[in-house]
């Protein structure tokens, strides 16, 4: 009889063997939550851009830390671990030194967030290689899982200049004069990016007589109400310049300006003009992706 009871106990044990413990990986005992930001493109035209460098900066009341990823798949493989409570997260893509950028003030782990600046010493080499920035504000409880959407916006503004009816012997060059030397990356309560107040000096954007100018430019320095450009028209008999005051260019904006030489030459004697007052022959299109 005793043997039968033993056999019954074995049967019950085997029966229950299928009900083994199911342990979930997201069950830490620490006071942390998890964030899985969904990156997206603020400008659909940027879709498909290869992200080969991604910097993530998490800032919370307990301090800040940063982490580098070599691609988006690597970043997406694990959720971010953040202290329970409010956190702000900043994403900076393709802003490594290999892309011509330099970053200062990157926070060390668990230290209070310092001011971060992004410089672009090799601006002329950037060509079409912009970097991108995104941010997310999250409130996450212990062991909770949040998935905020973080649109990636271009950091540097992009300008497109064109001029029609340029005489054959004329040379029209464009110089940008009040561009910011760097942009300030804010990971605080309102994560974002804005131009610094230090001016980079004159930047030659190119010659319109050789074709349209499409290039990245630094944003207008902080505090300036207009973006100042100097257009120089060189003819065999001399050179005339005119100051062009366009609306300021902010981070991530796209600006296009179509000029007509015939209308411009009339303004040459004035010495400067403001785009806003231009008539219909002149066109201005400025857009910033929010």
């Amino acid at each position: 009889m005793k043997t039968r009871y033993i056999f019954a106990a074995l049967a019950a044990t085997l029966l229950l063997a299928g009900c083994f413990q199911d342990v979930h990986e997201l069950d830490p005992s620490r006071n942390v939550g998890f964030v899985a930001p969904e990156l997206s493109w603020a400008n659909p035209a940027d879709a498909g851009t290869d992200i080969h460098d991604l910097l993530v900066v998490v800032n919370s009341e307990e301090g800040a830390y940063s982490k580098h990823y070599s691609n988006v798949r690597e970043f997406a493989r694990e959720p971010l671990e953040v202290p329970a409570g409010e956190s702000s997260i900043l994403f900076l893509a393709n802003a490594g030194e290999a892309d011509g950028y330099q970053l200062s003030g990157l926070p060390a782990t668990k230290f209070t967030m310092a001011e971060m600046f992004l410089y672009y010493p090799l601006l002329s080499a950037l060509m079409g290689h912009n970097c991108y920035m995104g941010s997310a504000e999250v409130m996450v409880g212990k062991n909770e899982f949040e998935a905020p959407i973080a649109p990636l916006k271009p950091v540097l503004p992009r300008i497109s200049l064109s001029m029609s009816n340029i005489p054959e012997r004329a040379r029209v060059s464009v110089v940008l004069s009040n561009a910011a030397a760097s942009v300030r990356l804010n990971c605080g309560s309102k994560a974002g990016v804005e131009p610094a107040s230090e001016s980079l000096g004159n930047i030659e954007l190119g010659d319109l007589d050789k074709g349209d100018i499409k290039t990245l430019v630094p944003p207008t320095v902080d505090g300036a109400s207009t973006c100042d450009m100097t257009l120089s028209v060189t003819m065999p008999d001399g050179t005339k310049t005119v100051q062009l005051h366009a609306p300021r260019m902010d981070c991530g904006g796209e600006y296009s300006l179509s000029l007509d030489y015939k209308n411009l030459i009339i303004k040459m004697d004035v010495g400067s003009f403001i785009i806003e007052n231009w008539d219909v022959e002149h066109s201005y299109d400025g857009r910033i992706y929010e």
Partner: protein, 406 residues
Amino acid sequence: MLLLVGAVCAGHAQTLERPWYAGVQGGTSFGQSTFSSITEHQVHWGVQGGLFGGYRINRILSLEASFQYGAQTQSALDCCPYWLSADGERFAMAVLDAPGWYYRDLSTRTQWGRAALQANVNLIGFFAKNSRWTLNLSPQIAAVTTQTKLVAPDQSILNPRQCHLSYGGQISLGYRISDRIGAALYGGVAGQAGERFDNMPYHGHDSNRLWDAGVKLSFHFGKYPKRGPSAAELAAEAEAAARVAREAEEAAARAKAAEEAAQAEAAAQVAREQAARAAAERAAREQAEREAEAVKEEAFQTPIPTVYFANNSKTIVDSYDPALEEALAILQQYPDFKLEIHAYASPSGTKAFNKALSKQRMEAIQQWFVAHGISMDRMAEAYYHGADYKARTATQARRAELKFVK
């Protein structure tokens, strides 16, 4: 249904003697892998059914084989807010510019087949020999094949078929409605070895199991074949044989004890008889001894005639031989007897002469007995007195007196 009603109406003549059974089973099924049929928000009821058959070895144990087919839908749990890329890799979040789906927007539909072998252990059988009720614990091993379709918002993907070794079991509560019909409610769980059957990437859950629950209807047939005694019967027989043997041993022991008692009694009787004989013999011996003692005493008291000598002679005349031989016989018969001798002479002659003569006469008596085998030790008390002045006559004085002493 008619069959069930008929079976119930057939009455309670069931004997539970039919070892073979077969039947159908069916009910619902659930899956739990990366996705689950039961989530925080909804329950996906699956369906399953099949055939089974078995053999009841005894009221406790039966072996059963079954074939089942089932299907169920599973979806993501809230604790798994993951994203599945189109290439099948799991991520914690959507990968920029890569196609994929969120887990919460996906579901899987799994179809499975199972060939199982299980042992049913009827717990009620431990306590009731002929109960209609059964409560089975049934460990089970099985071969399972699964095929899962991933259903995404914009498309569905059929994954390759998988094969698993399955382990788990069932618990069932059954009732024997009639001689041939039984019914049972059952529930089971089985873990699936190998790949996750829903084909979703692993994310920390160790689950990969199928649950099923439903009703079994069974038809019982056959008879237990005539066979040799069962182990229980053999055990009973052995126990009976042992009991008989014990009783025989006890009877033998009792007989042996009685025999030993009889033997003891006989021995005691013999002992008593021997004691009686010994006592009688002792009494006889004592009587004989007493008689011998009396004879001895009589012999001791027997007077020995005085030996008279001629004048100036120390020679013992032959006429005294019979008397001396009689004394000799008594001395020979009783070694503890001794002979006391007193020798005298007549007053004629000198005193010294008479002294010597009486001594010679004493020695003549001693020599006669020594010559007939009596040692001098037994005649130590020999005395010569010289002339006897008290004798009436000289003839009476010339003598030697003898008597027995101890």
